[in-house]
């Protein structure tokens, strides 16, 4: 009898425990719904504070503390701004070093897990990836301000599918960097470059008139686009309209073949960034097609460099690819208001001017671009002039299918002198197949 009483008591204990555990489990299912009501209780305080100078539409959440991911060479700038921001709003900001081209990959896994930074930075060609995966919040509170104060190309680059996401702060494109000792004045057209190469080129002694990274379509694109080609139609958004094998592109390809014979008789695979840098700093390369990121190394090597917009082809201004770096707010941030406030603050006119002074970046803000300090720097003017002739890299996710086929085509055209139209047609077919098979 006692035994059975004991057994019965034990069974009741077990089931009672299970029942209580069951209730706890159900309570855990609702926290995601409660996050939005708490957010809405924050904003009424913002609208009811008309005494603010009008620029502050958002109040940071109490107890907020932010993390921003940026490139190491921006650390000094970010920490200065972070200190100012903390003094003004009481929100501390910490910077973690993550290279911008890798941030979207990291954000894809860390964002939904709650481990990513609140504000991230990446180049504009990744915006398609980030936006379609739902990783970033739109730039809505400061949308009008951003649109009015930034260069038009910059605003277009950080907009995806009609929605503005980014807070742009610097524009990047490549231009002609030349060694003033070897060629005192920058050539205006490619015909002049070829003329110069006739006397200057000496492959045995590694002397070349001009070089660029042949295997990076980022640079080769300009040769196809200046003569009339384009990547995706409708301003880089229509994945079904590929202009890499139209008449203009074919003309550009034929011009490339001419350049291979008369300007740069090297195979595509033999040029890489380090070799080119070695030649330029060693004083045997007269002209380099490169971006502002290369200037520090060249200056440190003691080369007297000049920067100019790229030479024209057949009278057409060289169409380069441009990228825009902007701040974006992580969609899974715990402090959306504070993050948006910070992103806006660090991309403001004053901040961009300070960034220019500290790092020499090309500002995306219209007023800063007109500032006398910026205008007096001939290097910056040259890059900004080239930026005006550039097109943004398409940000649609289908871009990923473009690189392999088109680089293979350029290699065929350049190295082996194959028929330009046939190679480009083949590349476009491969791109279309690649896009179709990715669309499963």
């Amino acid at each position: 009898m006692k035994k059975w009483l004991g057994i019965a008591l034990a069974s009741i204990m077990v089931f009672a425990l299970a029942a209580c555990g069951g209730n706890n489990g159900n309570n855990q299912a609702s926290p995601s719904a409660s996050s939005s009501p708490s957010a809405s209780s924050e904003s009424p305080s913002a609208s009811s504070d008309p005494n603010e100078s009008g620029a502050e539409k958002l109040q940071p959440e109490p107890g907020a503390s932010l993390v921003i991911w940026e490139d190491e060479n921006q650390r000094a700038f970010v920490e200065t701004i972070a200190k100012e921001f903390e003094e003004k709003y009481g929100v501390p900001v910490k910077m973690e070093k993550v290279a911008p081209p890798e941030q979207v990959t990291k954000l894809t896994t860390d964002g939904p897990a709650g481990l990513a930074a609140d504000v991230v930075v990446f180049p504009s060609d990744q915006i398609g990836r980030a936006a379609t995966a739902g990783l970033i919040l739109p730039n809505d509170v400061y949308e009008e301000e951003t649109k009015n104060s930034s260069l038009e190309n910059a605003v277009n680059a950080v907009t995806f599918d009609g929605v503005l996401y980014g807070y742009p702060y610097t524009v990047e494109t490549y231009a002609l960097i030349y060694n003033k000792k070897l060629i005192p004045e920058a050539p205006k057209s490619f015909e002049e470059v070829i003329e110069f190469a006739k006397t200057f080129n000496d492959p045995k002694n590694n002397k070349y008139a001009m070089m660029w990274e042949l295997q990076q379509f980022y640079y080769d694109f300009g040769f196809l686009a200046t003569t009339g080609g384009y990547m995706f139609g409708d301003n880089g958004t229509n994945k079904d309209d590929i202009g890499l094998n139209n008449e203009g592109a074919v003309k550009g390809g034929q011009f490339l073949q001419r350049l291979h014979k008369e300007l740069l008789p090297i195979k595509t695979g033999d040029v890489n960034y380090d070799i080119k840098k070695g030649l330029f700093t060693g004083g045997t390369l007269a002209m380099d097609i490169n971006g502002p990121w290369a200037l520090t190394d060249y200056r440190n090597a003691g080369i007297d460099i000049g920067v100019a917009p790229l030479p024209t082809i057949d009278g057409n201004k060289f169409v380069s690819f441009s990228g825009v770096k902007a701040y974006y707010v992580n969609a899974n941030t715990k402090y959306p208001n504070a993050s948006k406030l910070f992103a806006h603050y660090i991309s403001s006119k004053e901040a961009q001017l300070k960034n220019f002074e500290m790092n020499g970046i090309l500002p995306a803000n219209k007023e800063v671009a007109e500032d006398p300090k910026v205008k007096s720097d001939e290097v910056t003017i040259a890059f900004l002039e080239q930026f005006a002739n550039s097109v943004p890299m398409p940000a649609i996710p289908e871009m990923g299918s473009v690189w392999n086929p088109i680089i293979a085509a350029i290699t065929e055209i350049w190295d082996e002198g194959k028929d330009v139209k046939a190679s480009l047609d083949k590349a476009v077919n491969q791109i279309k197949e690649g896009i179709a098979s990715g669309q499963q």
């Binding site: 077990v14 555990g21 809405s40 939904p112 398609g128 990836r129 680089i407 197949e433």
Partner: protein, 437 residues
Amino acid sequence: MKQHRTTATILSVLVQGLGQIYNGQRLKGIVLLLIEALGLVYLVPRLGEAFWGLATLGETTQKFVKVNNSSQLVKGDHSIFLMLNGLIVVFVLIVFLVIYVLNIQDAYKTGLLRDRGEKPKSFRQSYENATGRYFPYLMLALPALGVLFFTIMPIIFTILLAFTNYSAPDHIPPAKLVDWVGFKTFKDLLFLKSWSHTFFGVLFWTIVWAVVATVTTYFGGVLVALLIEQQGIRFKKLWRTIFILPYAVPQLISLLIMKNLFNGQFGPINQYFKAFGLDGLPWLTDPFWAKVTVIVVNMWLGIPVSMVLILGVLTAIPKDLYEAAEVDGASSFQKFRIITMPFILFATAPVLIMQFAGNINNFNVIFLLTNGGPIKGDYQFAGATDLLVTWLYKLTLDNSKFNVASAIGIVIFLMIASFSIWNFRRSRSFKEEDMIQ
């Protein structure tokens, strides 16, 4: 009296530990009861959601909701997190079910003891049993749990990914849902032209590479070892040291430097060729020459390893075999073919198989030297010297096609595992373990 064991078993089936209490093992029974309580507390609230998550992989995606002009995120279902959480819950369920089955077995056995008239073990006796005879099982329980959750579960997760459509650009959570697609990924790899062309091309090259790389490094090692061990060679230790050096330098550094050495325009090797008036060769830019370069560099890296191994084996060959062969009038080549080679092959067959399997996955050499080599436009994201494993890397990190990458990983595993097992069982060193002749 069959009664005890039947009752004990039925009681244990109903409530874990009850059978033990009925059998008189009160303490053990209470411990088992507590374990079941723990299991129920964890599992009951989670099982339903876990199975739903695993079956549907989520139904609603996240949304942006405008709150007073500022967008906020309303979280939806994250397919991959659902799969992961579901897997964890399923594994915990399995662990508790194993304990449950053990408990039933134990109740039955003790009931059997009582039917025979013997006394069931007291708690002290059970405890001494567990820490004595069954000590290995007790000690391994914790590491086994670790292996289950940190090794087996990630593998199962990766295998499951191959049966979904988790890939950029259309199926990256949290904005989009991931769905189960069954064998579609494998079918596409094998039959959809854009994928199958790349897949078979890369597979063919992987097998060719594995065979050629293994054979060249192995016989290269044999050659060098035999040369060093020849009668007339002096400074044997010096030669051994020099030939071991390529293995001593970290592969990473050697390969990166080789990449610059073989540069077609500016690399020293082609500069020397040009100094003699010959045209340089397109070492890394031509698909055929890139493959040759990769194999040659791998020989440079791999011969030291084989050489050391075979030097050791050579010293184990009994000298009287050679003396007998001399007496019988054998030539050098016959001595090599009949005595040396079979001996070496027999002793190193397992190593050869291991090296072949390892070369299928030889990531370093290909990735650092050519990064997949001259790009082939008609390949999907792959180049002329890409192995399956480097293609997998590019698919995952550069292009986010996770389901295809998983499928390829499974293919690589099946290939290597089946070949290794078949060949190892076949080789004589497995069949005749204690015989050397």
